[in-house]
């Protein structure tokens, strides 16, 4: 008995000892910079090494919120997020259902869907940029040869055509992740539910609506949260494909430009705080929604 209590105490001590290194690292690289960002957002803080930082209250927030470039960044990000996440969910579920059935070549399919996921985002952006190149891109050549397009289009030159292309790249790249999560969810559904369904004469379509969809919804919601939070902070694809064009930024691109191009840590930090608040709103919205739909 004494020995057991002794062991318990030793385990407890060891636990703290083992957790400490990770806690210190996390405090240093996440907690400390976050507090710094909150502080900087209230300062006039130019990174030119000349002007000393001074307190300006909410001036930086006022600047960002009255900047039309910021609002176009918000609208680009939201359109991108909603459209790509919806498409990824639908295609992801479709691919997951195909990958979940037994057929020859299943392994090939599973490897194939992992390829876009593993390719670095910068590389996929460059590959697609080459594919939609206005003169030599395969997309333009094929579409004009098939007479679907009367003439070649400079896809990335205007937001109206660039945004759909960028969404296509993200859908191509992120659908595998969605499909893999949903596949894991599908595999949790007991097989006898479908057997019972067929004996009762339920069609495949009916089985999908009555069995598959309700039972895969919890996994779908988790995947949706992951993907939405990822999409809201999109940076790489936009930065590589349309660069610094004023009205083609996203919230993250705008933030990075304030910091690096304009060397303004004050405005940059205020932008970070606003992005954090927007992301937190989405998290609250999702948790509310998933709670009401399960109770």
């Amino acid at each position: 008995m004494i020995k057991e209590i002794d062991l318990y105490a030793r385990q407890k001590r060891l636990a703290w000892f083992l957790i400490m290194p990770s806690v210190i690292v996390v405090l240093l690289i996440i907690a400390y910079p976050t507090i710094q960002v909150l502080v900087y957002s209230l300062l006039k803080y130019k990174l030119d090494g000349v002007t000393p930082p001074s307190f300006v209250g909410f001036d930086n927030f006022a600047f960002v919120l009255s900047d039309p470039d910021w609002w176009s960044a918000v609208s680009n990000t939201l359109i991108f997020t909603v459209v790509s996440v919806v498409l990824e969910s639908i295609l992801g579920l479709m691919i997951a259902m195909v990958a979940n059935s037994k057929f020859k070549g299943r392994t090939l399919l599973r490897v194939a869907i992992l390829v876009p996921w593993a390719i670095p985002t910068v590389v996929s952006a460059q590959v697609w940029k080459w594919m939609v190149n206005d003169i030599y891109g395969v997309v333009n050549i094929v579409l004009t040869d098939l007479h679907i397009l009367p003439e070649k289009i400079a896809w990335l030159a205007t937001p109206a055509t660039a945004l759909p292309v960028i969404i296509a790249v993200d859908v191509w790249k992120a659908t595998p992740f969605m499909a893999l999560l949903l596949l894991a969810g599908l595999q949790l559904i007991p097989k006898d539910l479908y057997e019972a369904g067929s004996i009762d004469g339920a069609t495949k379509v009916r089985q999908f609506w009555a069995i598959t969809l309700p039972l895969v919804t919890p996994t779908l919601l988790v995947a949706l949260i992951f993907r939405t939070l990822d999409a809201l902070r999109v940076f790489d694809i936009f930065y590589v494909m349309v660069g610094g064009q004023g009205n083609m930024a996203t919230m993250a691109v705008y933030n990075q430009q304030q910091l690096i191009s304009f060397l303004d840590a004050g405005v940059g930090s205020a932008t970070s705080v606003i992005i954090l608040v927007i992301i937190m709103l989405f998290v609250i919205l999702y948790t509310r929604f998933s709670r009401t739909s399960f109770e």
């Binding site: 195909v98 059935s101 390829v115 593993a118 996929s124 590959v127 080459w130 057997e195 990075q256 940059g268």
Partner: protein, 299 residues
């Protein structure tokens, strides 16, 4: 589509032969449509990769023409890429940065995960919840804080600085997934060792750690891929060509003239950094899927 439903369907005793024949025909059509869908998915996923691979072997004269299929292949772009000092330096940087990040994250993270998954202590639930939150933390939100911090620590524009910041997204993820692995091991294993008088640290090192090897492999692979592909921090926290990582250099490839980008070199460079990842994915397909879904489905 699934086996279960098909056996269920054959259990229904057919009443007339004509009906089954019709059903068979429908089955064949459905099967064909299904395989068409499979082919469509595979083509959709692989085409951009295959197209980039093809482009990387085409001579420039052909690349900048409207011919679809190549008539000649060349290794010129690969030779050019490996002669480019910037690209070679970036390759070395990427290997060093991603490799060190993974080793540190696994070493510290698995110790922490052992405590969270196996040992008793107060506030365990709170710590786990905090870590889960951090796995979804938007890295953009600490950009200016890290920028100033790296400047003051004199780590700006260094590999060490990148490694330190990369722990932001590798550590919480490693801890979270590894905790799930430690939890899933049966309790009897360590109880026997404790009865024999082993210390908790010995139990970790001799018994549990070897058993979580598969977990370490899949977590390590995922963390490596994430660090290898990272762009925002590498772009923001490095300025000189000797410190840049591969994604940054690939995003900044520029030709001798400002009119046309050197697409051949861009595609060749892209393939050099992508093919190792694609091979890893093919070899460790099962492990990667397991690691990817461990956090989301079990949690």
């Amino acid at each position: 589509m699934s086996n279960a439903t098909r056996t269920a369907a054959t259990l229904e005793v057919p009443t007339n032969v004509g009906a089954t024949k019709k059903a068979d025909n429908r089955g064949v059509v459905l099967r064909c449509l299904f395989y068409l869908l499979v082919v469509a998915i595979i083509v959709f996923n692989l085409f951009p990769f295959v197209w980039a691979l093809l482009s990387s072997f085409r001579p420039s004269s052909e690349l900048f023409s409207t011919k679809l299929l190549p008539t000649a292949l060349t290794m010129d772009h690969y030779a050019a890429v490996f002669k480019d000092a910037r690209f070679v330096a970036a390759l070395v940087n990427s290997v060093v940065v991603a490799g060190s990040t993974v080793l540190i994250a696994l070493a510290l993270g698995s110790l922490c995960a052992y405590a969270l998954g196996r040992l008793p202590f107060r506030f365990k639930g709170a710590v786990l919840y905090l870590i889960l939150t951090m796995t979804m933390f938007p890295t953009i939100s600490v950009l200016s804080g890290l920028f100033v911090m790296l400047k003051t620590l004199d780590l700006f524009n260094t590999r060490q600085g990148l490694i330190l910041t990369y722990l932001i997204f590798t550590m919480p993820f490693t801890i979270w997934v590894m905790t799930q692995y430690f939890r899933s091991l049966p309790k009897e294993l360590e109880e026997a060792a404790y009865v024999d008088g082993a210390s908790p640290l010995k139990v970790f090192w001799d018994i549990l750690l070897p058993l979580t090897m598969p977990g370490l492999v899949s977590t390590g692979l995922l963390a490596f891929i994430a660090a290898w592909n990272e762009f925002l921090f590498a772009l923001t926290f490095t300025v000189t060509d000797t410190m840049k990582t591969v994604p940054v250099v690939i995003s900044q490839f520029a030709g001798s003239t400002s009119f046309e980008q050197p697409w051949g070199s861009i595609m060749a460079g892209s393939m050099v950094v992508t093919i190792p990842l694609v091979l890893l994915v093919m070899i460790f397909q099962y492990r990667i899927v397991e690691g990817l879904t461990a956090g989301a489905v079990k949690g």
